[in-house]
């Protein structure tokens, strides 16, 4: 008799006070980024203060969801059992059109097709065990 092995869930999201709005928007398929009204610059990851002027005059803006792969890796050795079945999977740093950088997996894309400069767009992944959708990217071509 084979006992099915329960695959552990991927890590869930535990929003902080200054990331709550980001994750709630993700559930509506919106990618938000912080914007300093004093510096007039975007920032990501979110913080309680602007990293340039250190003031708290921050607003949220919605991204177009368009970006380019700045760099990437194809992960063959997963960090834990929850990701093992996905290997090999791409992870990338993606520079968004509005001038901020996110980390994401590149979905709907064979690993060998990934390249530096590749245009991508944001998609939102629903995950078991997570109250929030996860912003990911897929090829835009």
């Amino acid at each position: 008799m084979n006992t099915p092995v329960q695959k552990p869930n991927k890590p869930g999201i535990e929003p902080k006070p200054h990331t709550q709005a980001f994750w709630e928007a993700a559930n509506s398929d919106k990618l938000l980024y912080q914007y300093c009204l004093d510096c007039q610059k975007p920032q990501f990851v979110p913080s309680s203060v602007c990293r340039k002027c250190h003031q708290k005059n921050l607003d949220w803006r919605e991204s177009s969801g368009q970006g380019f792969v700045f760099t990437y890796s194809i992960i063959h050795r997963a960090p834990n059992a929850a990701f093992k079945d996905d290997t090999p999977y791409p992870i990338a740093m993606v520079d968004m059109a509005e001038g901020f950088r996110i980390t994401a997996n590149i979905l709907n894309c064979p690993p060998e097709r990934v390249y530096i400069g590749m245009p991508v767009r944001v998609v939102f992944e629903t995950r078991d065990g997570s109250d929030y959708k996860i912003p990911q990217v897929e090829p835009a071509e």
Binding site: F70, T71, S73, I74, P79, M93, A104
Partner: protein, 386 residues
């Protein structure tokens, strides 16, 4: 006038799989070993600095260590800055001595990451540095974080997998000459290229080891030199550089990190240039880390370190003998001890104690540690005081 600080004692345990060891037994062997090497007694130590340990995640590791070995120092702290901690302990110890707080500061590190963590070690370490909301949900790993930097660096400056592999081969050659090294079996470039892929473009043999082991260094006031057993080594310059913690928050071109600033500061204080260095001991958690740092710190032009590695310039007898003990890639890697071993080796080279690994006429050494994902850096320039 400020007192001068010298390195008076060094020690490393055997490195590898140390059955029956504990984090504290490794600390004890290391600390007592370095004090004896200096010609001192534990009772002479008036300052103790420790790092952190993943197998013993205590909020007061320094107190745990001092209690364990039975000493009550006048000054004690623990520094937790990942892989950068080793050289930072030396810099802090020198500052304590130069400011007159201490005569003899013991810097002691160690972990039993193999026997202590078992098969959990990869997930334990990976979960420590990724951003919990914006990196870890994507299955990031430490190797993948470094791999993304390597991928971009290859694209921008032309380094190749063969170049990275040559660094691994060099470190293994050096480790074969060190009786305490974790891995000594010779490897060739093809062995690296054919080893299991971990996170493209990094193969398993591009990655540092996971080891049990410890190391310690004693930093003393120069006016205690008559009490010391070994040739004192002077800390000629030191510096730090910090730009981020999570790699997605690094300076955006991913080609200049805190090592540029830490090395510049250390060279400036010492009044020397990278070209003056006889032996370099540089943090090599991955082969790519070593080559990128060599270029960022001014030892080579952008894109030139790869050919240098292939041509044997980093070997003992080459233009810039590097990681002469085998580095994290082959001597071993055990938390903060991994970086401290770079300092231990630099001191042995400058004392002329390196045996088969001895770099001829080594008078000026450079030691560099980094922690996180190119996040925190601390560089030292060390010289023969006599």
């Amino acid at each position: 006038m400020a007192k001068k600080a010298v390195i008076s004692g060094v020690y490393n345990t055997k490195v590898g799989v140390l059955e029956g060891s504990t984090c504290m037994s490794i600390h004890a062997e290391s600390g007592i070993g370095a004090v004896e090497d200096a010609g001192l007694k534990l009772g002479d130590i008036d300052g103790v600095l420790t790092a952190y340990a993943t197998t013993l995640p205590h909020i007061m590791l320094g107190s745990v260590f001092c209690e364990d070995v039975g000493i009550r120092p006048a000054h004690l702290s623990s520094i937790s800055m990942g892989g950068a901690t080793g050289t930072m302990l030396i810099q802090e110890a020198a500052a304590l001595v130069e400011a007159g707080y201490c005569q003899h500061v013991l810097c002691v590190t160690g972990d039993n990451r193999v026997t202590g963590h078992g098969s959990n070690v990869v997930s334990v370490i990976s979960s420590m540095v990724g951003h919990p909301e914006f990196e870890n949900p994507f299955g990031i790993t430490v190797p993948a974080s470094y791999a993304m930097v390597a991928q971009r660096y290859m694209h921008d400056y032309g380094l190749t997998n063969e170049h990275f592999a040559a660094a691994a081969v060099t470190c293994r050659k050096h480790a074969a000459l060190h009786p305490d090294a974790h891995m000594q079996k010779p490897i060739e470039i093809d062995d690296v290229l054919n080893s299991k892929m971990i996170a493209e473009p990094l193969h398993m043999l591009d990655c540092c080891l996971i080891s049990d082991g410890g190391g310690a260094v004693v930093v003393s006031a120069a006016d205690t030199v008559p009490d010391l057993r070994k040739k004192p080594i002077t800390i000629l310059g030191s510096g730090q550089g910090h730009t981020h913690e999570h790699i997605m928050m690094a300076p955006e071109t991913l080609d200049h990190f805190g090592c540029k600033f830490s090395a510049e500061a250390a060279f400036k204080k010492a009044g020397v240039t990278p070209q003056d260095i006889d032996v370099a001991e540089i943090y090599d958690c991955f082969t790519s880390t070593l080559l990128i740092q060599l270029e960022s710190m001014g030892f080579y032009e952008r894109g030139a370190s790869g050919e240098a590695a292939v041509n044997g310039e980093l070997e003992i007898g080459g233009a810039l003998p590097t990681n002469t003990h085998g580095g994290l890639l082959s001597f071993g890697s055990s938390g903060a001890a991994g970086g401290l071993w770079h300092v231990v080796e630099a001191v042995r080279q400058l004392r002329g104690e390196a045996g088969q690994r001895q770099v001829k006429d080594a008078e000026l050494a450079f030691a560099h540690n980094q922690g996180g994902i190119f996040s925190a850096h601390c560089s030292l320039v060390l010289g023969d005081a006599s």
